[in-house]
């Protein structure tokens, strides 16, 4: 047995439900009225037929000789019409064709009682009414006793059957008339329900697409209108919170930009002072020299941090600009590593010349951050591989370290994210990977982190070879 799916749409379901309810109701009403009319028709017909038989018998009975002879029985049978059987103490009147349908229960009831009995039967594919009656002898004072004469009649009821069938058909037709009306009503009701629902859906779609000013006008005062009002309130509240959040973000970014900007001037001074200190460090006591070295290192870190912060602020403010040139990516990567003295510690796989449209300064920043991160947090060997397709340049940095655990991987590009809380003091600013990602995006490329084949971490930079807008 195949199970059909119920109709999916609200409109189809409403129509089906309406039609079922209406047709079932109309059908039940029509069926009940046809049935009661039919049974009234049967009762009336039965009453008429039994009364007619009683009248026919009563009309002829006073003229019959008693005890009845063959001729008297024949006369009674003729008077009662065709399909009649007349008996007297077991003797049958001759003739009486069609009376063989008289049932035994009717005979028994006639013999036992003193009244007319009737039974409806179905034989030879049509309904019949079997009537049986004894003929009574009444004394002048009104007392009755059986005479021994019994009259049985079989009457055809197919005429009644046909009329009942007609009634049923007209009832079914009436029920069917309700069908188109039900469909129309259902469509109207579905329309009135579906229009606000569709409006709401459109509004929700616009909200989801980011248009927080989208609203639906509520119509009427039903539950759907209440829902519309609620959705509008939700959208308004969402819009307000989003606006507040944006304002707070903007404030925070401006604050970071301002702070890093304000720090730059005193830091320049501090750097100059520290450089002087470094130049004269050789003449100091060992303890003082160590302190001087510490101050120099921390000052350099502070300078790097402020520079990174300013870089991030430029990205946030959208003022970071890309100076695209036609560069050899392999050479740029090699230069970046060489400039930081990492060529001995890193396995570089960059054969030949790979030309691409990129900003060399930013590419240098990305490579330095990825390689520096691998050298700091991973274990050697650290490998940098540069490859290219027609469309893209791919720079892959892998290490043999512990790799990125599942809870760390989604956050490696977050600002100031520390994979290990205990290892709070690391030489990096905590912004390197975030800046690398922003630079990759600025190029229209992408930077992803994942596990390497050997168990370490793998960072993959993909850059388009040609600028689309160039």
């Amino acid at each position: 047995m195949t199970r059909r799916l119920p109709p999916r749409g609200l409109r189809a379901r409403l129509v089906v439900a309406f039609v079922i309810v209406t047709v079932a109701g109309a059908g039940a009403a029509a069926w009940a009225s046809a049935r009661s009319a039919g049974s009234a028709l049967v009762d009336a017909t039965q009453e008429r037929l039994t009364a007619a038989l009683a009248d026919q018998v009563a009309a002829v009975a006073p003229q019959l000789t008693y005890p009845p002879g063959r001729e008297a029985l024949e006369r009674l049978r003729a008077a009662a019409g065709p399909g009649t059987l007349v008996t007297y103490r077991g003797r049958r009147a001759p003739g009486g064709a069609g009376a063989d349908l008289v049932t035994e229960p009717v005979r028994a009831a006639v013999r036992a009682g003193d009244g007319i009995v009737a039974q409806r039967i179905r034989a030879r594919g049509r309904p019949w009414l079997v009537i049986g009656t004894p003929v009574a002898i009444t004394a002048p004072d009104g007392r009755r006793r059986p005479s021994g004469i019994e009259v049985y009649a079989v009457r055809d009821l197919s005429g009644v059957d046909d009329r009942i069938d007609g009634l049923t058909r007209s009832a079914a037709a009436t029920a069917a008339l309700a069908l188109p009306l039900a469909v129309l009503l259902a469509l109207a009701a579905a329309g009135s329900v579906l229009r606000p629902v569709r409006d709401l859906r459109d509004t929700a779609t616009r909200l989801a697409a980011g248009d927080l000013t989208a609203r639906s006008p509520p119509q009427g005062a039903d539950e759907l209108a209440q829902l519309t009002v609620t959705v509008n309130e939700m959208a308004a509240s969402l819009e307000a919170s989003m606006a507040a959040m944006r304002r707070m973000q903007a404030d925070a970014r401006r604050f970071a930009a301002d702070v890093s900007h304000e720090l730059r001037t005193p830091l320049s001074t501090l750097t100059a002072v520290v450089e002087v200190l470094a130049a004269s460090a050789d003449g100091l006591e060992p303890d003082a020299r160590e302190s001087a070295q510490l101050a120099i290192t921390e000052t350099q870190r502070l300078v790097a941090l402020v520079e990174d912060l300013m870089e991030v602020s430029r990205f946030d403010a959208g003022t970071a600009t890309l100076r695209v040139e036609d560069v050899d990516v392999a050479a740029t990567v090699r230069a970046a590593l060489r400039a930081r003295g990492w060529l001995e510690r890193v396995e570089l796989d960059a054969a030949g010349e790979i030309r691409a449209q990129a900003d060399p300064r930013r590419l240098d920043v990305i490579v330095a951050n990825l390689a520096g991160n691998a050298l700091r947090h991973g274990r050697p060997p650290v490998r940098v591989a540069v490859s290219a397709t027609d469309e893209r340049v791919r720079v892959e940095v892998t290490d043999d370290g512990p790799g990125l655990s599942a809870d760390v991987a989604p956050h490696v590009f977050d600002r100031f994210y520390k994979a290990d809380a205990a290892r709070a003091r690391t030489p990096g600013s905590g912004l390197g990977l975030a800046i690398a990602l922003e630079n990759a995006r600025l190029h229209g490329g992408d930077l992803t982190a994942g596990p390497a084949d050997g168990g370490g971490a793998r960072f993959v930079l993909r850059l388009p070879r040609r600028r689309e807008d160039a």
């Binding site: 039994t50 009683a54 006073p62 039974q119 009537i131 009444t138 009755r144 009259v151 059957d161």
Partner: protein
């Protein structure tokens, strides 16, 4: 399964509307009217009304019974208190609850017992034919008399 249910519902719907068969049900009183003869009423020696079965083989009609009554008692120890007159033809009409007899007699031809004879014979035939025992009988004599308007009952038929 669903088709079967639909078929059952359709059968119920259509089959439930035709002529249904039934058991044996009572349908009224049995017809009556057969009798071995007609009962006439005469008067015995003590002046009391007496029924006499005249074996005609069948019940017949009220005028037939009246004709037999007016013809006379025959050889029984009973007598009739209706003066024997020439014609014996009686016209009987029945209305609901009332039998009207037009007799070829005057009020002087009958005693009160004779009137009872006429009333009882007519009412007896009426009852034997299936009529009600509470039917009244009105006798119209040939000459105008207040007695013609009286609605009578038979003392022997309750």
């Amino acid at each position: 399964m669903r088709r079967l249910a639909a078929a059952v519902a359709l059968t119920l719907l259509l089959g439930g509307c035709g002529v249904q068969t039934s058991g044996v049900t009572p349908a009224g009183r049995a017809p009556t009217g057969v009798a071995p003869g007609v009962t006439l009423y005469f008067v015995d020696r003590d002046g009391r009304l007496r029924p006499q079965l005249r074996r005609t083989g069948r019940l017949g009609t009220i005028p037939e019974a009246m004709a037999l009554l007016l013809t006379g008692v025959g050889d029984a120890p009973l007598r009739s208190e209706i003066a024997p007159a020439g014609p014996t033809r009686v016209v009987a009409t029945t209305a609901p609850g009332l039998i009207r007899l037009m007799v070829p007699l005057t009020i002087d031809d009958v005693t009160p017992r004779g009137i009872d004879q006429l009333v009882c014979t007519a009412l007896g035939v009426h009852v034997q034919r299936g009529g009600s025992t509470s039917t009244r009988v009105q006798i119209r004599f040939v000459q105008p008399t207040p007695q013609s308007r009286v609605r009578r009952t038979c003392p022997l038929i309750p």
